[in-house]
């Protein structure tokens, strides 16, 4: 019952926000902005730049709110806009180039069982080159498939796979180093 009530409340707020009701827009913003800033932070290392991108993405959310069909989850819809905005920002600002080597290995990292904090994880992701980072975020964190990522980034599916395997290799080595450091300190 609570969920239904919340859903009804959400749809009403969205309706008001579509009519440029600033209070409703602020409610949506304050509800989703902390999570969305986290999403943007995954892609953009600088928190200030991440916030800028989030604001522009929220602008897109509010300007295209009338296009939102109340089928999927509202959060998922906003999150997709955020991710797309981050990608377009990175592509414009840094002109990310994807090495189209299409060499990828299907290694399993199941042996590695990470016990890292979110900050540590973020540091690991931040250390990745932008191309690897984008593909890793999209695949591992957002759960997009390789063909979807290829479409979003305008690359081949093989390139997406190779970027992911490179990212995984780097992460693996970094995780092992960190674990050794942790063990050393402990």
């Amino acid at each position: 019952m609570k969920i239904i009530h919340l859903h009804q409340e959400e749809t009403e707020i969205i309706k008001l926000a579509v009519e440029n009701n600033r209070q409703a827009q602020q409610q949506i913003y304050s509800r989703f902005s902390p999570k969305m800033l986290s999403v943007c932070r995954q892609y953009i290392k600088d928190i200030q730049l991440a916030e800028d991108v989030m604001i522009t993405a929220f602008m897109k959310v509010f300007t295209s709110l009338n296009k939102f069909e109340h089928k999927g989850s509202f959060e998922g819809w906003i999150r997709r806009i955020m991710v797309n905005e981050c990608i377009s920002y990175l592509r414009v600002q840094k002109k990310v180039k994807f090495a189209e080597d299409e060499i990828y290995t299907e290694e399993s990292f199941n042996a590695i069982d990470s016990q890292f904090t979110v900050e540590q994880i973020q540091l690991l992701i931040d250390a990745l080159p932008d191309g690897y980072k984008m593909v890793f975020n999209l695949y591992a964190i957002e759960g997009y498939k390789h063909n979807e990522i290829a479409k979003m980034l305008g690359i081949n599916e093989g390139t997406s796979k190779s970027q992911l395997s490179h990212a995984r290799k780097i992460l693996q080595t970094q995780i092992t180093i960190l674990k050794k450091q942790d063990n050393g300190t402990e």
Partner: protein, 228 residues
């Protein structure tokens, strides 16, 4: 390529993470939203202006087209006026013809009574001659003499009338023929001639200009060659 354990861990931890944006972030978004709202209203105004200007252009265009039609109509009206004038010129003629005809008719009518009178006079004369059959030949002779001049006079009158009628008819025919020919000249030949003359003058101007320019260029070239 299944997500690995550490990836699952990454995902869970990152998805649960929240980063509070700065206090200024909402103010900036608020400002951006109000700007876009203003832009939207401006855009609406723009569209209104565009529509208004379009309508204005349409009105102006229709006005000009109507003017053109009017200007076209003006010469037509002039032509019509000319026609009217021509008609007015012709009509009096026709009226005159009619009047002449009526005159002719009246003259004929008058001549007919004359002939009647003449017949009557003849009959009276005959009656008189019958009545005075036994009278002297001198009287007859006198009567004959009298009747002959009367008949002569009548025939003379008839001849004069006929001649007048014929002459007037001929004059009318000549006049009508002349007017017709004049109208034809006015309509086609004169205009064509004028146009042709205008065109010729323009052509002549162009030709003369071209010739002059050609000559100057020719002279300049020749001088240059000589100088070199």
């Amino acid at each position: 390529m299944e997500p690995n354990n550490f990836e699952k861990d990454f995902r869970e931890k990152l998805n649960n993470r929240t980063i509070e944006p700065s206090d200024k972030a909402w103010d900036r978004l608020d400002a951006m939203l109000s700007i876009t709202e203003n832009k939207k209203s401006k855009k609406k105004n723009k569209w209104f202006y565009i529509a208004a200007s379009f309508v204005g252009f349409l009105l102006v265009g229709t006005f000009f087209f109507n003017q053109k039609e009017q200007t076209i109509k003006v010469p037509q009206s002039v032509v019509v006026e000319d026609n009217i004038k021509k008609d007015s010129v012709v009509k009096p003629v026709s009226n005159s013809v009619d009047s002449i005809k009526t005159v002719i008719a009246s003259s004929e009518q008058t001549s007919v009574p004359n002939s009647n009178n003449k017949q009557k006079s003849n009959t009276t004369l005959k009656n008189e001659s019958n009545q005075v059959a036994e009278s002297s030949i001198i009287i007859k002779n006198n009567q004959e003499k009298q009747s002959i001049p009367i008949q002569n006079q009548i025939s003379k009158n008839e001849n004069v009338d006929q001649l007048l009628v014929n002459a007037e008819k001929a004059v009318v025919a000549e006049n009508s023929a002349k007017q017709k020919s004049k109208v034809k000249i006015n309509a086609d030949d004169l205009l064509n001639q004028v146009d042709g003359e205008l065109e010729l003058s323009f052509r002549e101007k162009v030709i003369s200009k071209v010739n002059k320019n050609y000559q100057t260029v020719k002279v300049a070239l020749a001088n240059r060659n000589q100088q070199e």
